[in-house]
């Protein structure tokens, strides 16, 4: 793989020679990259290239899949989060996640936001936490009068911002976002993107997106993943190029990246 200009800022994650398997099936091969602090890093690439898989490895969410296995190292502040002495539950408290489909809990808006705080037995003022988190997620003005209503009563875009508020309420250091706008209309998408710009002052953001314009709008760094056919007929994902977003889209070093970002395939 090619690692172009060195990422700016201090690294949060170092992914080192990672191979990922589901059972005997190799899903991702030999990925190495460094994800910088307080930046937005985007993963782009065609379907099945392993970008979501890698993302979920960053907070050990793939542990929920029984057949999942990882080789190599993923360090978070220089500690391998796959070391046996690491508690994955604690990892997920530091590294939050926002999913593709808005997935509020079947609870009130208020209870959705404070869920994570209750998990960690937060001793502070919950009302204050709700307001602060919803304000940061740019949702407060729309919901402040109906905090007791179900999270499902909101529109799709509002639900997604509620999920973001829920994630940042536990003050993670990193927010992982798995195609957070793919189920949203363009206006809601824009709101979530503006939100990412604001959030990166306090958080490190890693986003998977199918939308290349979105990557150019929000990301400082972009990683292009691709899938290649294996002799056995499967597909294995790998990292093609990782660089500043403007380089990936302006002057990519790899032909495959050039083809993808110019719309010639994918």
């Amino acid at each position: 793989m090619v690692n172009g200009a060195s990422p700016q800022g201090q690294p949060v994650f170092r992914v080192e020679n990672v191979n990922i398997y589901y059972g005997n099936f190799k899903a991702v091969r030999d990925v190495s990259m460094t994800i910088p602090k307080n930046q937005v890093t985007a993963f782009i690439g065609p379907s099945g290239c392993g970008k979501s898989t890698i993302l979920r490895c960053l907070n050990r969410l793939n542990d929920l899949i029984a057949s999942f296995r990882l080789e190599g190292k993923i360090t978070y502040h220089d500690k391998n989060i796959y070391d046996p002495d690491i508690d994955p539950v604690e990892v997920r408290r530091k590294i939050g996640m926002v999913f593709q489909k808005p997935n509020p809990f079947p609870k009130s808006i208020y209870d959705n936001v404070v869920y994570g705080a209750r998990v960690i037995n937060y001793k502070g003022d919950l009302d204050e936490l709700v307001e602060r988190s919803l304000r940061r997620a740019a949702l407060w003005d729309e919901v402040k009068d109906k905090l007791k209503q179900s999270g499902f009563s909101l529109s799709g875009g509002q639900q997604q911002r509620l999920c973001i508020a829920r994630t940042i309420a536990v003050e993670p250091e990193v927010v992982l976002m798995d195609e957070p706008c793919s189920a949203l209309d363009p206006i809601s998408t824009l709101k979530v993107e503006e939100l990412m710009h604001e959030l990166k002052a306090n958080y490190t953001i890693v986003i998977v997106t199918h939308n290349m314009q979105q990557a150019t709008r929000v990301a400082d760094m972009t990683a292009f993943f691709n899938a290649e056919a294996t002799p056995k007929g499967g597909k294995v994902g790998h990292l093609v190029e990782f660089d500043l977003t403007k380089n990936i889209f302006g002057s990519p070093k790899q032909q495959a990246t050039m083809d993808y970002v110019s719309g010639r395939f994918g």
């Binding site: 969410l61 929920l64 029984a66 609870k107 869920y115 994570g116 998990v119």
Partner: protein, 297 residues
């Protein structure tokens, strides 16, 4: 004016008698008839029981004891209370076991070995669901009555009914938990919640309406069951005296009184039948209503 001339392409589309159409109509009629025939038994039973049972229906039914042979009047108050006690006992025993079993099957069997266990448990539950209720009765009889642990009693009957209710509760809860979207579990785990916390605070509450439906359906089955009670609850002409004493129940009352030669007893049996049928009908409708109010899409 002139008859409209159709484009030859369109003319072929006009309906005309064809064998294909005739067969279609006949078959539609046939399956429709079968569908009608299927619901006739339901309405026949409802109608018959209504006609025979309603004449005797009054509030005193629920407050008085059955009359001694030869006398008239009275009610099935003891059997009414007895059924409530026995079914509640069965529910209290089967719900914790059933729901927790389903939670294991759906939420906590992740490794290969655990999945294998879950597969066998599911198989066992399906077999148990097919076990005739009289076997459940004989089981509780053998376990508690012949050994003298309880003797004929409400407690033994509760255990027999719990055995009957267990498969329904496990299966409906298992299904209810599976319907909860995976994303909701991920969201909770992604916020740093443990598996246990996620199940307790998110998955179970989301599945609660469906679980309640399963419990209601299982209770409806237990209310109507007779075979499991004949060997265990036995019967009693008196008010319930305790969980370790024989106890009257509505279904056994129907079984006992329907065939005796005394008219008042027969009437009581009909009234009890009517009440049981209505109870089960209401339970079925109630369970539908609960399902419809599901918060999850």
């Amino acid at each position: 004016m002139t008859t409209a001339t159709l484009n030859p392409q369109v003319a072929g589309l006009i309906k005309r008698p064809q064998l294909r159409n005739w067969v279609g109509w006949v078959m539609t009629g046939l399956v429709g008839l079968c569908a009608l025939l299927t619901i006739i038994p339901l309405f026949a039973v409802l109608g018959f029981v209504l006609v025979r049972g309603i004449s005797r229906f009054s509030l005193t039914l629920f407050t008085q004891l059955p009359p001694p042979p030869g006398l008239s009047g009275g009610g099935f108050g003891n059997a009414f209370i007895g059924t409530i006690i026995v079914v509640l006992l069965g529910t209290l025993i089967s719900v914790p076991f059933g729901v927790l079993t389903a939670v294991y099957l759906s939420e906590f069997s992740s490794t290969k070995a655990q999945k294998e266990v879950a597969r066998w448990v599911r198989f066992g539950i399906n077999v148990l669901a097919g076990v005739p209720s009289i076997i459940a009765g004989v089981f509780a009889y053998g376990l508690f009555v012949t050994t003298g642990i309880f003797g004929y009693s409400a407690a033994a009957a509760g255990v027999a009914l719990a055995v009957l209710m267990l498969p329904t509760i496990v299966r409906t809860t298992d299904e209810a938990l599976k319907i909860v979207p995976q994303e909701v579990r991920w969201a909770s785990v992604g916020l740093g919640a443990s598996n246990y916390y996620t199940t307790l605070r998110v998955v179970l509450p989301a599945a609660l309406p469906s679980i309640l439906t399963g419990v209601i359906l299982a209770m409806a089955r237990a209310v109507g069951d007779t075979a499991a009670l004949i060997f265990t609850a036995l019967f009693s002409s008196f008010w319930p005296r305790g969980l370790l004493e024989p106890i009257a129940t509505l279904s056994v009352l129907v079984y006992n009184f329907a065939t005796v030669p005394f008219k008042p007893q027969q009437e009581l049996a009909w009234a009890a039948s009517f009440f049981l049928v209505m109870l089960i009908l209401v339970a079925s409708v109630a369970s539908r209503l609960v399902i419809r109010r599901q918060p999850m899409r």
